[in-house]
């Protein structure tokens, strides 16, 4: 009896001891469907694809041209499968210190490339001015209510450059405080527009994209289109000089027409804590449909780099030099916009 008592004692002691506690809970039993249904589930997309390709050949034989683009369908299927694959990674994926998930971002490029090639028919020139390796600061005009221009510059460099690179854009801190947006922006490689962040990214030899106009550029009315706003205090120039990075001016044409902003509802903006609340011919009248951008014709031009490496890091404090370079970059971008507007035959063609 005494032995029994001590054994229960030690058992309770062991139960109470905090060392042996396992934190992770056991996996919960899952409901499984019958085998046949699961097999059908697995193979259904394949059957569907076979059916569609049969239909496509039959239609081509009948009409003599491609009615269904099978390659496009395959791209969509691939995207869906990739997303499922990514969801299966669990917590074991790598993000860099800024929260950038390269694999996840690349899975979205299929969508962005479709927008780039087929929707906005972007023509890119001067891609050879972007270095294949090493740091550089891309400086661009900013327009359109939502930052699609940043997305398209990123896609242009990933799709057209002989050495595809990820561009890291700098975002106003305001957007980093917004739900969903902050998560998506961080995950796809953007970071806060803070001089410290810019310096760190450039020191890691990244391509950094900056919009010196900020929300003043995206929130300007339609009648002011293609007129650059002020470039602030030229902070991007001093950061580039300190990091010894060349500045590459970028002119984007077409982004102004995606959401023609006819008015700004300031009270609504104040209510939602936004910098501006756009009123376009479709927004907010059509609800979510109003968020679909118009299919304008785009042109992106990368200008030859402005070399700031020749200046010593101390000259970053020289306000005169900084403002001179800032004005030079601004003039290059403005001139590039006018050149590309002349090259464009119409707004939508």
């Amino acid at each position: 009896m005494a032995e029994r008592a001590t054994s229960t004692d030690s058992k309770t002691l062991r139960r109470r001891s905090r060392k042996a506690r396992v934190v992770s809970p056991p996996p919960a039993p899952r409901l499984r469907l019958p085998k046949e249904i699961r097999r059908l589930q697995r193979q259904a997309p394949m059957y569907a694809l076979q059916g569609i390709s049969d239909l496509s050949t039959r239609l081509r034989d009948m009409t003599g041209r491609d009615v269904i683009d099978v390659n496009r369908l395959m791209a969509v299927m691939q995207f869906v499968y990739q997303q499922r694959e990514l969801a299966r990674r669990g917590p074991d994926y790598a993000v860099d210190d800024f929260g950038f998930d390269a694999e996840w971002t690349e899975s979205f490029l299929v969508l962005f490339k479709a927008l780039y090639r087929d929707y906005w028919r972007v023509e890119t020139t001067g891609i050879e001015n972007v270095p294949a390796t090493g740091r550089a600061l891309l400086v661009s005009n900013h327009a359109g209510v939502l930052p699609w221009d940043g997305t398209m510059i990123k896609t242009a460099i990933f799709a057209e450059h002989p050495n595809p690179r990820h561009v890291r854009a700098l975002v106003a801190s305001l957007f980093m405080g917004m739900p969903v947006l902050s998560w998506f922006l961080r995950r796809t490689g953007q970071t806060v527009g803070h001089p410290d962040d810019t310096r760190r990214l450039l020191e890691r030899d990244e391509l950094v994209l900056v919009f010196p106009e900020g929300v003043k550029g995206t929130g300007k009315p339609f009648k002011d289109r293609y007129r650059l706003r002020r470039f602030g205090r030229g902070g991007f120039v001093s950061t580039a000089i300190r990091a010894g990075a060349p500045i590459i001016p970028v002119s984007v044409v077409g982004s102004e027409e995606i959401y023609p902003m006819v008015a700004d509802a300031t009270p609504a903006a104040r209510l939602f804590g936004l910098p501006y609340f756009p009123i376009t011919p479709t927004w907010p009248w059509l609800g979510p449909l109003g968020m679909i951008p118009l299919p304008s014709k785009w042109r992106i031009q990368f200008h030859p780099p402005v070399h700031t490496e020749s200046h010593s890091p101390e000259s970053a404090n020289d306000q005169h030099l900084v403002m001179t370079i800032s004005d030079e970059v601004r003039d290059t971008i403005q001139k590039g916009i006018y050149d590309n507007l002349k090259l464009r035959r119409g707004v939508f063609v």
Partner: protein, 340 residues
């Protein structure tokens, strides 16, 4: 000493220093043979007498509560008034103190959407009005800085320890929930610090005595969603992104009192730049943030710190210690009593 981290620091210091004295309001979690212990409250100015009578040359101030939700006033009392008393005790020309290590926290930066991705030591308390814990910590550090300016003979180091997720901390308990409610639309970057590394940093601060303020946090980050998945939980984004006090209220119902500074961290994330620590200490935390999460998930974190022993065991250890000293020196050592 009643705090596991302080106890761990004492245990590590015991073998490296000639004499060690501990003081706390509560009993220490485990008795250490080389350490003499007195019951003393930093809220009263007993530290000065203690320091002068015992000719103490190094003071490690760890009575700083960071992880106490709700009791703002008590935390203020401990953090600001307590630090003030400790500093007053160490100040003055008659003071033998040559080295002071003060524990602070990464919470001093707070967390906000406009913060740089890596906050450096100089960025604390520059732009926004502070409240609650952040204000207390800022005030405490300011007092420490004033002390270090006034007292040229004393080297002061302030260690801003990163967020820790051992079993007892709020963040650790939050991440261990089976279903973790998160703020909808946010997936912040988390940077953590292992208990081992926290203790090691304090010990190195004491031994090496580098002057200045240092961030101490692990390398790398994990996203909150990753951290939850590593713990085997499910993230449930239900807490409102705006009006976060509502979410905190809901969490309190679930038994987790999330302090305001942690709610900020779980929304916007806070990552410190530890390059100064690496450059001046010549050391960086052994665990990466991912390794900290993994060790928490395996439940191995508990091994680092001994489970609190019951009071009888403490008294027994003190008794045995006195007997050993009696056998060694012929007398048990003078009993030290300090009026509470």
């Amino acid at each position: 000493m009643s705090n596991p981290l302080a106890a761990e620091v004492a245990r590590r210091l015991a073998t490296q220093v000639p004499a060690l004295f501990g003081c706390d309001v509560a009993d220490p979690v485990s008795a250490i043979e080389e350490m003499d212990f007195v019951h003393a409250d930093t809220r009263q100015s007993v530290i000065g007498k203690l320091v002068r009578q015992l000719r103490i040359d190094t003071v490690v101030h760890m009575a700083v509560t960071v992880d106490s939700a709700g009791e703002d006033r008590a935390a203020h009392e401990t953090n600001v008034i307590g630090t003030m008393n400790v500093l007053a005790g160490c100040a003055g020309p008659s003071s033998p103190v040559r080295r002071l290590v003060v524990k602070s926290s990464q919470a001093v930066y707070g967390a906000a959407p406009g913060d740089p991705s890596f906050v450096a030591e100089d960025a604390a308390g520059s732009d926004r009005p502070a409240y609650g814990l952040k204000r207390d910590l800022l005030e405490m550090e300011q007092l420490t800085q004033e002390f270090s300016l006034r007292t040229s003979g004393c080297r002061v180091s302030v260690l801003r320890l990163g967020y820790r997720v051992s079993e007892g901390t709020t963040l650790g308990r939050y991440l261990s929930l089976p279903i973790v409610p998160t703020f909808a639309g946010f997936d912040p970057r988390l940077q953590l610090l292992h208990e081992d590394d926290a203790a090691e940093a304090v010990v190195r601060g004491v031994i090496q005595g580098h002057e200045g303020v240092f961030n101490v946090a692990a390398d790398g980050i994990v996203l909150l969603s990753q951290a939850i998945a590593i713990m085997g939980g499910k993230a449930l984004p239900i807490l409102p992104p705006y009006g976060r006090w509502l979410g905190r209220l809901a969490l309190r119902a679930a038994g987790i009192d999330l302090p305001e500074h942690l709610a900020d961290v779980l929304t916007f994330g806070s990552v410190a730049d530890c390059s100064r620590l690496a450059a001046i200490f010549g050391w960086k935390p052994a665990y990466t943030t991912r390794a900290v999460m993994d060790s928490l998930a395996r439940g191995k974190d508990v091994e680092v710190i001994e489970a609190p022993s019951p009071p009888q065991e403490y008294e027994l250890q003190v008794y045995l210690q006195r007997r050993r000293r009696l056998a060694r020196n012929g007398h048990p050592g003078a009993a030290l009593t300090v009026q509470k």
